[in-house]
């Protein structure tokens, strides 16, 4: 494993960055898209079942199926990393919509009415009161999404996208286990980095919880 790393250092580092980027971008876009959708589902109860069921349906689809279907829907080339990003964004949205909807529903009604009474309105109230309270739950969901995405990106090697998953395909073709192991370790490392980052950001946003604990 060490020799491989020494021989292919540059390439491995590039693959690591590509992998990171392919995992994080969908997380960010997915989160941004899921917030308004989740808010809609939490606010309008008639919409909730429909949105949640659709999200559940999308989440049921195996990732590789999405990767393969993407090109025909958005007219990209099969090899293109965009397929991965779009597919994983869909996954992230599907997961986070429910998390966000449930987190917002769980904000205590008394807190909300107190905020309104103090003069918070509309978007301001949402950003300054509801969302911060929902942060811990959202963070938990995001951690799951992050770990999930890191694993899913590697499947992209099957459609030819070059990232850490390529270490798996190389290792298999060459029948060298240690290359595969390197890939696994780097994936786990990336997952850990993302997880820790998310937790730290979450902590920053919820200093009030730490003060109590």
């Amino acid at each position: 494993m060490i020799t491989y790393l020494q021989d292919h250092f540059q390439q491995t580092v590039e693959r690591f960055y590509t992998h990171a980027w392919l995992a994080v971008l969908p997380l960010v876009i997915g989160l941004v898209l899921a917030i308004p959708l989740g808010w809609l589902a939490s606010r309008y109860r008639r919409v909730y079942p429909g949105v949640i069921n659709l999200a559940g349906l999308l989440y049921t689809l195996p990732s590789v199926a999405l990767f393969v279907i993407m090109p025909s829907i958005i007219h990209t080339k099969i090899l293109s990393p965009i397929n991965v990003v779009v597919a994983l964004t869909i996954y992230t949205v599907a997961l986070m919509v429910r998390v966000i909807a449930d987190a917002l529903i769980a904000v205590p009604a008394e807190v909300r009415s107190a905020a309104v009474a103090m003069g918070f309105t509309g978007l301001g109230r949402f950003l300054r009161v509801d969302l911060p309270i929902a942060v811990p739950v959202i963070v938990a969901g995001l951690r799951v999404a992050a770990a999930s995405n890191v694993g899913l990106v590697s499947v992209g090697a099957l459609i030819g996208v070059d990232q850490l998953g390529s270490l798996f395909t190389e290792g298999f073709t060459l029948f060298v286990g240690s290359i595969v192991l390197l890939g696994i370790l780097l994936c786990v490392l990336l997952a850990l980095i993302l997880d820790t980052t998310i937790v730290l950001i979450g902590r920053r946003l919820t200093t009030w919880q730490r003060a109590v604990a």
């Binding site: 195996p62 025909s72 290792g171 595969v180």
Partner: protein, 250 residues
Amino acid sequence: MGVIWNYLGDPAHWSGSDGVPARVLEHLEYTFLALAFVCLIALPLGLYVGHTGRGSVAIAGTANALRALPDFGLLVYVVLLISGQLPASLAYLLPSVLVLVILGIPAALSATYAGIQAVDPAARDAARGMGMTGSQVLWRVEVPNALPLMLSGIRSSMLQIVATATIAAYVSLGGLGRFILDGQSQRDYSQMAAGAVLVGVLAILLDLIVAGIQRLVVSPGVTGRFRTAGPGRRPSLVTSSQEGSVVPTT
């Protein structure tokens, strides 16, 4: 979009050992085989940890740790490790099923454990106080109330397995993933797409079946699905657990 139907439209692709029905069957075989083992391992373990409360930290920790592992990588690695030592017929099947089982366990295990934990402690206390033995409390009270979460855990595991089994075609397994991989090497996009659609439909169908089972098996008193209207949401002493929430899969 029409290109997807090319492959499926051709009747030749619906017969023979590499036809659609055969591959679907293979895929189902892998899925149920792995799911059976997952249930055999995760359910008793989850019940034990939930009922006695021992080992909960270890369980939670392992479940979380396993989630960080890349499924594809694990699959390839285990195959490389073990296949050499096995007779040819099993060489790829055994390690693949092994990985499917390992990847499927966390969802079912943590859901079972969470389900048992979520049972109303007053109901548990009353059950013991009435004279039920430990195992009677488990089977007559805890399990029926933990069913929604347990079943949703099994559902997640199943979806995880279906997805990973698709990828397992890479390590020479059969199943619907074959269309995707063969289609790629043959540069036949419509074959790839056909495989993708088939596996998507299969996943949705299986999910619906388990959801249906959930509806049949779980007591209405637990899900809150009542035929006759109750006296409305008055303050109640009973907590009826919600249907299990989505636990993520590959």
